[in-house]
Symmetry: C2
Subunit: 265 residues, 2 copies
DNA sequence: CGGCGGCTTGATTCGAGTCAAGAACCGTGG
DNA sequence: CCACGGTTCTTGACTCGAATCAAGCCGCCG
């Protein structure tokens, strides 16, 4: 939120600073996927930035027919679905640089199956779909970045399904938290304290909020977590990962696609 | 398995018959994704057919470094993962025409996170990765078909996550069976009897085998299922879908991407 | 006619959900 | 800077769905 100052004060990266604030994570992701820096900037130019979005607001609705695609720039959002009875399942948390509606983005219409909601206050970027389509034709490496993002998302989804389906609450939550910390880190946010409410954890882990409360206390007693106000802080990351049999490898695949880029473009 | 006779006897499609037996479903899928028939045939020519694969054999292994991509031609397979303790979670069932290793296909190496196993005896096709890459460059519509397949897979995965996370056993199994029947149908297999063992259902629904047994009996008492030997048969599809709040729309998106094809190629 | 893979059954245990009340926290405005 | 009100988290008592264990049965296949 008042994060820009970090960038200005950083002694490490004084050369490049985001033109429009907040776009840097997205830019970084494009470049990490093998895109040329100049091309990335060209794409960024087409992004309209919207900041000051409040927690709990829907960024992408179920009934969406919107004519734009969305990228998360700052903050945290979640992709979720609902049962007819109203209960919610969070499919994925999204971090700065992530495409919010990859699932929708490439499809003209969508069967109201998922929506995206702000978990914290956040900033997003939107791109007109028509323009996005042009850009995809113009910059094959953009399509590559989207492939990569889609594959990563699917990979994460499977891991989470495995955990929800086959692990008890303690491991399930431990794994979820490990994943979020790792993802934050992968976009350069080194915070051990996650901005999640317990209800978010509950809906993501497919547990009741009461059980989440009790389980988190257990994790605290084990010395793996502590509380920072209402937020959970990961104290002993190593042992937490251990408990959850968490292996962050599946989140990496950063330069994996670099080979590809050469062939396609 | 001894299915080819069907094709020959069909009074409806006497004109085109699969060159190599079994490839027809895959061809149909390519065409349905907007690919030109001639191009599809060109691609099929590069596919090596392997038949006679037995149930329970792994088609794609965890440790895969294989130099080829795989397509299911006949039969049924499943994409699954395992916990360190050995317990299995089935992420998705695959039907004729499906890419078995989409998740792996585009990535040079893979963090041993998922494998594919034959649920019935089956026939697969394999394509050398190098050749696939060439084909992708040569035929943009192939990439489109793969996008579509990937998005569909992700969509199914989310739906299943929602059900596993938030529905009780009865609905969960009902939904799973509805999904499989609908998918079979979408590739032209109209069988109400599914080739799944109860252990497959258990691993897919994230339930114990014992509980699946009891729950299936319940579904039989409700008149929604019956048994055909050891296999479950869907008797009252409508009421089953009703019970599970199943809405097959998310499986369709068949011609959704046709618009796209025009722009990209 | 075995034999074995797969399904059933009953008894028991246990993890997790629900309900309901209360406490802690947080942002807001005076 | 503190008081207030809603949100979020906590606790305890109770219930319930699902897992586990352990036999036994069925039916398919050699």
């Amino acid at each position: 939120m008042d994060m820009p100052s970090q960038f200005l004060e950083s002694s490490r990266a004084p050369l490049q600073r985001p033109k429009k604030q907040g776009l840097s994570h997205f830019r970084q992701k494009l470049v990490a996927s093998g895109m040329d820096g100049g091309d990335a900037d060209e794409i960024l130019r087409r992004v309209e930035v919207i900041s000051g979005i409040r927690r709990d607001r829907d960024i992408v609705a179920f009934d969406r027919t919107a004519k734009h695609a969305t990228v998360l720039l700052e903050g945290m959002t979640c992709l979720y679905g609902r049962l007819p009875d109203g209960s919610r399942q969070i499919f994925a948390f999204q971090h700065p640089g992530d495409f919010c509606d990859l699932s929708h983005a490439m499809l003209p219409a969508t069967s109201r199956e998922a929506a995206v909601c702000a978990v914290t206050g956040c900033t997003i970027g939107i791109i007109d779909r028509g323009i996005l389509e042009q850009l995809l034709v113009q910059y094959p490496s953009l399509m590559l970045a989207m492939w990569r993002a889609a594959m990563l998302e699917a990979s994460i989804l499977r891991k989470r399904m495995l955990n929800i389906g086959r692990q008890p609450a303690l491991q399930r939550i431990a794994h979820l938290l490990c994943e979020q910390v790792a993802r934050q880190e992968s976009v350069g946010i080194g915070a051990a304290t996650l901005p999640l409410r317990q209800i978010d954890i509950a809906d993501a882990a497919a547990l009741s909020i009461v059980h989440v409360s009790r389980t988190c206390q257990q994790l605290q007693k084990l010395g793996l977590l502590s509380k920072e106000g209402h937020r959970m802080k990961v104290v002993d990351r190593k042992r937490l990962a251990d408990l959850a049999a968490f292996d962050g490898d599946y989140l990496d695949m950063p330069q994996l696609l670099l080979r590809w880029q050469v062939r396609l473009s």
